[in-house]
Symmetry: C2
Subunit: 429 residues, 2 copies
Amino acid sequence: MKALRVAVLGCGVVGSQVVRLIQDQAVELAARVGTPLELAGVAVRRPQRHPEVSPEMITTDAVELVSRPDVDVVVEVIGGIEPARSLILAAFKGGKSVVTANKALLAEDGSTLHAAAREAAVDLYYEASVAGAIPLLRPLRESLAGDRLHRVIGIVNGTTNYILSRMDETGAGFSEALDEASALGYAEADPSADVDGFDAASKAAILAGLAFHTRVTASDVYREGIANVTAADVASAKAMGCTVKLLVICERTSTVDGDAVAVRVHPAMIPRTHPLAAVNDAFNAVFVEADAAGELMFYGRGAGGAPTASAVLGDLVAVARNRLAGTLGPGESAYAELPIQPMGETRTSYHVSMDVADRTGVLAAVATAFAVHGVSISTVRQEGRSEDATLVIVTHVAPDRALSSTVEDLRRLDFVRAVTSVMRVEGER
Amino acid sequence: MKALRVAVLGCGVVGSQVVRLIQDQAVELAARVGTPLELAGVAVRRPQRHPEVSPEMITTDAVELVSRPDVDVVVEVIGGIEPARSLILAAFKGGKSVVTANKALLAEDGSTLHAAAREAAVDLYYEASVAGAIPLLRPLRESLAGDRLHRVIGIVNGTTNYILSRMDETGAGFSEALDEASALGYAEADPSADVDGFDAASKAAILAGLAFHTRVTASDVYREGIANVTAADVASAKAMGCTVKLLVICERTSTVDGDAVAVRVHPAMIPRTHPLAAVNDAFNAVFVEADAAGELMFYGRGAGGAPTASAVLGDLVAVARNRLAGTLGPGESAYAELPIQPMGETRTSYHVSMDVADRTGVLAAVATAFAVHGVSISTVRQEGRSEDATLVIVTHVAPDRALSSTVEDLRRLDFVRAVTSVMRVEGER
């Protein structure tokens, strides 16, 4: 039988593992696909840096590689918006299916890619773009296709999870933990994509889109990174039996005008008894709540060359099988077209710690600040007395706007010396 | 567009939820499939028992229903070998695709079903047959298709997990915990399929077959149930920081003659720090260890009408989409044809507690009994003194046959008063 030929764009941490697996597992891949998968070429920027790839496979001309008539499938693991987008669109134009791990591109312009794939009658698969090795997108696209999802919540960024794990373990501040992560190679030279939540926001957009059959882009995602998480926040979380995690939360919400989709990425305190609290370092985990299925959890390595390459290879087998059968996998599913709910209207709950003067009437005044915004208080704890008193308040859920306005008002109260920690609380059951 | 028509065989706990979801989610299902899914009929034994289904949908003639020319897809949720097998084969013969939750049938005669589906060029999907709502088979069949799996280990039977959870919590014996499970409806009138491990063994066969691309039937699975697990075993597990779980363990092992597959179901002690230790009651969880992907975990509701129906509906959408596209999903993958390793050769480790006379030389004699079988001891703990001494030994891994022979020898030593607990230990890292 005629072999299917695969072009790989990019040969970094993931690409080099993809190339290795295509060669090492050739016999098994051929058996699973029904025909051999052959490497057609690997596009790189600096050929001399890839001694592990046979020189005749290497090219610096990615545009030429994706247009070659003997290429059937293109694996894009360059990342970023350009030239990845142009190369993928060129591949579609030439009738090639594409497997990509590019979350940023999918979250910014997934609809363009999906439309181009549909027009060219080829496949676009992207399991590796979210949560590395964890089979998560295929279950969302296919296994749960007969169910109605309410919520997807998880930890999908290894760098920030490592930093927060270290802050929790050692009491270190953010900068110190970031320096440690950088020294160990867990953080990039420019850590902003991870630390400021951009990476997680891209993944949130992809997850929400699949979960709720709605187009969601990265700009629809409310995003707060972890750069402002302090040692005091982490200590405050500890004191109430919680830990701080950077969470991705995608919800279907009910509004007076019908259902909407709320998608957000922010640090949050979760109880230590919550399964996500035990997800440390580079591991990822995602909870899915569905009408009929109930609660599901997926856990595994969210990053790294080999785990991500495993997800790419799974897609490669699926795409190759589809080509062999002359068929296509599921395309974009955006029929629900639900509106995006603004963060201000999304219901959350807050933890607020503040240093207050220990005077009669302080609690009453603080309670009033919450009440005027319609925010109901769940627990109040006062620590210390006189000049050192600390008041810790956890609210019930309320619109996020009401909660943030309350905090603004608290900062203005003259017997509130300082609001020392404000953070959302999730995962209470 | 022409609707696809679905016949449902069986209307019990799962079937009634499938019927409900097909009707309640009609709009969403139509959007996801690309054409409406219509209920064509529901085959039941006692029509008067199903007031929730419109009477014109009900039939007692399942044979007639699966042969109707207007039926496109058959959902089989009767369970058991016959008449389920004949009905499924009849459906294939009539060109209908089948979605089933029938683990017993798949584990006994999956190859016949797969061959018949292939011959008729129709689909056979069965996500619901293992671990209810948890999307597990599709990841194994598809997402991990480009990876090499080493091990699948998990908890896939809710009844036994409930019983063992209760024994662990309350110190109750097996019969007492079983009675409680029966009273709460967690155990069937005849609990043997669950308690004796038959249900788990069927699921193990299906998982091992998919994981290792080899035909595995229920009779290939080494099986021990939980009826002989005593309160003393559970107490002994507790004393060493473990809990007892009924585990399914599927492994690719290396032998001198090449790779083999070892598949077993038995109670085992696992450390309380192991993620499976926290899986309680009716929840299921499965770990998958793969070459490139590393360790993955899937967690969710393993039983119950709605969760299982969610898995059936996911398959139904996939099968319907395939039909619409004129294509087929992945069929049986058994190209590896690995041999099944006998349990005696499978490497396990044992926990053994025994009451011994506290005499000089006892430990030496016991240690010798292990040594003559080539079994190396990992830890020894002696509790009490003189007439009440208890010796607790945990071994390193050794062939299971050597371990069981050692225990036989121990029982014959005259200063060993009683071997009070013997159980395999898993999940040490």
